[in-house]
Symmetry: C2
Subunit: 564 residues, 2 copies
């Protein structure tokens, strides 16, 4: 075997560490700014690639992320494996049964959200191919189809995340949107596969184009029916006769790799096979939760950041940034997708306001559009200018989707405890011995930090406490009040070693006390936070763990893990 | 970026699928035969490599696993990443605090088990270098050191697995052996690192050898003290201020990759850095169980099989099999390691019998010896003949370690429920309505399957039942008897939809009934199986899940997962 030499190995490990490190750091930052993490991961590649690092330290850039030679192949191999596994996981997250249940409305939105942008984009690409960035020697039809699919596909993971953040995932609206997005995803990839069949010219492995397309459709149809059934029937045998969880994990991985190899071999891209196999596996109720978590987490949090960062290494985003083209592509995508989604929802009988919200929900192009763009660039169908425009469009649509939806539905993001906790408002050892003293001590912390009148806060909480005491049992109490004129949400966490009587139903004194102060005009804040605390501390183990924390950091770490 | 072309991508995914598939299948087979799974994984490479597939289908072998070109580099990159991550996980499983607790005795065994074989092997390698397979142009000292370390290192994971299988892991003997193996591992890798320093000649990155060795020792010392402390302090911040579990997972991975890159850069092998970083991370009590499971399972069950199988792809095991050399190396390793371990245990004040058992426990060279051999071969220090002999030695010592220990301690392998379950003895719907009828119905199943006298079995169980009823609550009952002259262990599983009164402490009728028949002269069998059933079905959810199973396969799958 042609072995990597010592220098290659050192560079490979170091470049992976840098790529993963910067991608994860910027991914975290993006999430802090309430943006999808893929945005930050992509930016990492732009920073480490020719766009920025290549300008300020070309030698370093060339050593770490060379474009030719052994290390280029090494990184490309790992990125290729990463994208295959990412699509396997994306497929596993597609829940076909959900899509069926929402039936008609979801179907109409799914169809309309892909058909409308597709038709508009294909016309535009036929009429202005050069302006849009077609490579001179690429086929006009293939180019038009590619451009259309890059604009009409939707990013299921980002849509799902937005709905979860808004507490809408399990609502009727949420389920309709998810089923539409699933349909959009599956139709989008099937069309994409057919286009890839055209693209390969003579087809894969020397076969005819027609043969490639026929095999693709047979593969997709077969996997989603017979293959899905077979996997569902085989899983209990795998679980019964192999080592747990090694057998189930490798079963899923082997099928994913085989699917990827097959679709690549017949002349379409490996990711399609991995995606379809993922759908077939993920749909089985026999697949255990632990396997989903192990594959899902490892791939989403290790492989995916490496892959998305590696995209930015390929292109100089400054040199190929064409503001006019970016604007055209972005506007076209926004208008077409918004109109397509909204019309579909109206067609399905939804109200006007909800229909517009659905349109915004379906707007997000995200990771899927990036992948389509990357494949088109590698295949020499589009030029770097359009590639950059597509990436910007994919990211911007994902960024505006959530906030616009919130605006249309007048629905605030759910308040989360971890967003309002602060080290200044964490009192490790309360001095107070009575309920009244505790309220004073905790209200004073808010008064001091927020420069507010402690007495006002204290009286409001005591007035509320007199109506009904706030001990919820398990040694937890939630004194609270809505305060007129308050601008922010304040939560103080206090731990009392001896326990304070808060008249709990189980009679236990409270050792863990949360003081919740919210603006009078935002009733949702208090409800969200009180509900989260009740849910989290229903379990005595969590209460005990909280009481054992020594510093604010430990407490915050505890609130990050486990139930949300 | 130099991209893989479509053919390369298809070959890469397919060869990974084949490698993983055959490795996992043979790994399962090895475990079925009570052997370490690494044995089967290695054999997969031998079958798919030049040894077998290369002989019967050279074109296929060359297409799937080429020795030169893009796909060779692709596979080597992934295998290199895999071994780095495998050592990271191996390090994470090292529990330094355990090693400290067992203090003196473990320390003496650890030292002696590495020192004795090391000295003997180094003398042998100096006196007969050519006979042992030194490459003519390699340094005699480096060769001798390499040979000595390959023989004296022990495989912690295999030793731990053997002890768990025998139910000795938590015993005093088990803890002493584990702490000795940890010490052996850490000392072994440090010596190995120093040897690699010598090997690199001018040192890595053009530095002096002395510098390389100094940096190695500083790195190891620093990581195991200050680095370990720093990681322990940083983990709560990572948990508190990043997304869970993405932050913690990528934190561990980034550190592992950086450690690997650093040690490779200074001129020793990447795996050492990954291993030491793994020890430092794994030692922190702040690292959450879920992160350990995700990284551990994915790496152990996906990356590790691929890596071990890839080793067999490098060498023709038939062409380079030198029976004489294999015998010499094997005998030397067995005698030296057995003597070294036993003497260490005697020195530590253990009894003669226990000392010999410890000697056998420390015998296993396993994966660690294979890795050392592979590095030496790649570096041109040893020839293929010695490589093959080392691999055989590593595997054979691992195979005989467990059985010999059992023999010395007169300790049988623990009985496990899943080993005695059979589809013929699974009665999905019991017809019987009374306790007496149930015992008859279930005993008859054994009588028929094993060609035994049902009446004898039935009377023995009823006699036992009269002394004390066997309902254990939660709707589970365990009628049982030890039968004179019985040769095998029989367990019948019966499900009764209406429930049978077995006089349980909670008064519930039994819906899930296990009939346990064991030979009179093997009291351990009944205890092991009854204890396992009690442990598993303490939890009402498990009972409910068992009652919902439709086929034997579902029931067996349930017994595979969860607590052991």
């Amino acid at each position: 075997m042609e072995a990597l030499n010592s220098h290659n190995v050192a560079v490979m490990f170091f470049s992976l560490a840098v790529l993963l490190g910067v991608a994860r750091a910027l991914g975290e930052l993006a999430q802090r700014l309430r943006q999808p993490s893929v945005l930050g991961e992509l930016l990492a590649g732009v920073i480490l690639g020719p766009t920025i690092l290549g300008r300020i330290a070309p030698t370093l850039n060339e050593t770490l992320f060379p474009l030719h030679g052994v290390n280029a192949i090494a990184l490309d191999s790992i990125a290729t494996l990463a994208i295959g596994l990412f699509l396997l996981v994306a497929g596993m997250e597609v829940d076909l049964s959900t899509a069926w249940k929402q039936g008609k409305t979801g179907g109409k939105i799914g169809l309309s959200s892909i058909a409308f942008p597709f038709v508009v984009a294909i016309l535009a690409a036929f009429i202005f191919p050069e302006a849009l960035g077609r490579q001179p020697d690429s086929d006009p039809l293939v180019f038009a189809l590619f451009f259309a699919i890059a604009i009409s596909i939707s990013a299921l993971p980002i849509i799902a995340k937005t709905l979860i953040d808004m507490g809408l995932y399990r609502s009727d609206l949420g389920m309709v949107v998810i089923s539409a997005a699933i349909l959009n995803d599956v139709i989008g990839w099937v069309i994409f596969a057919v286009i890839l069949g055209f693209l390969s010219g003579t087809g894969g492995a020397g076969m005819e184009i027609v043969m490639t397309i026929a095999l693709t459709l047979i593969f997709i149809g077969g996997m989603l029916t017979f293959g899905r059934y077979l996997i569902h029937k085989m899983l209990p045998f795998v679980q019964a006769y192999t080592r747990w969880p090694a057998g189930e994990l490798s079963f899923a991985m082997i099928l994913g790799l085989l699917g990827a190899a097959f679709t690549e071999w017949i002349g379409i891209h490996a990711i399609l096979g991995a995606f379809i196999v993922g759908v077939a596996i993920g749909d089985s109720s026999h697949l255990r939760e632990r396997s989903r978590v192990i594959i899902g987490d490892f791939v989403s949090f290790i492989f995916a950041p490496v892959f998305f960062a590696s995209i930015g290494l390929k292109v100089d985003f400054f040199a190929h940034f064409d503001a006019g083209l970016v604007l055209v592509v972005l506007l076209m995508a926004c208008v077409c997708k918004l109109v397509g989604g909204t019309l579909g929802a109206r067609w399905g009988g939804m109200s006007r306001q909800e229909s517009i919200a659905v349109g915004f929900a379906m707007l997000s192009v995200g990771a899927m559009g990036i992948i389509v763009g990357m494949i088109a660039l590698n295949a020499g169908i589009i030029d770097e200018r359009l590639f950059v425009a597509l990436i910007v469009m994919a990211m911007v649509t994902s960024m505006i989707s959530g906030p616009s939806m919130r605006l249309v539905l007048h629905k605030e993001k759910k308040w989360k405890l971890r967003d309002v906790l602060s080290s200044k408002l964490f009192i490790r050892s309360l001095h107070a011995n009575t309920r009244r003293q505790v309220i004073h001590e905790m209200a004073a912390a808010v008064g001091e930090t927020g420069d507010l009148d402690t007495t006002v806060l204290e009286l409001a909480v005591r007035a509320r406490e007199e109506i009904m005491s706030t001990g919820i049992g398990n040694g937890v109490a939630l004194p609270h009040a809505r305060i007129a004129g308050l601008k922010e949400v304040w939560v103080v966490v206090g731990i009392s070693s001896h326990g304070i009587d808060f008249d709990a139903p189980d009679g236990k004194p409270a050792n863990l006390i949360f003081l919740i102060l919210t603006p009078e005009d935002d009733p949702g804040a208090q409800l969200d936070i009180a509900a989260e605390i009740t849910r989290r501390f229903r379990d005595q183990d969590t209460v005990d763990a909280a009481l054992r924390t020594e510093h604010f950091t430990d407490f915050l770490a505890l609130m990050r893990a486990g139930v949300q």
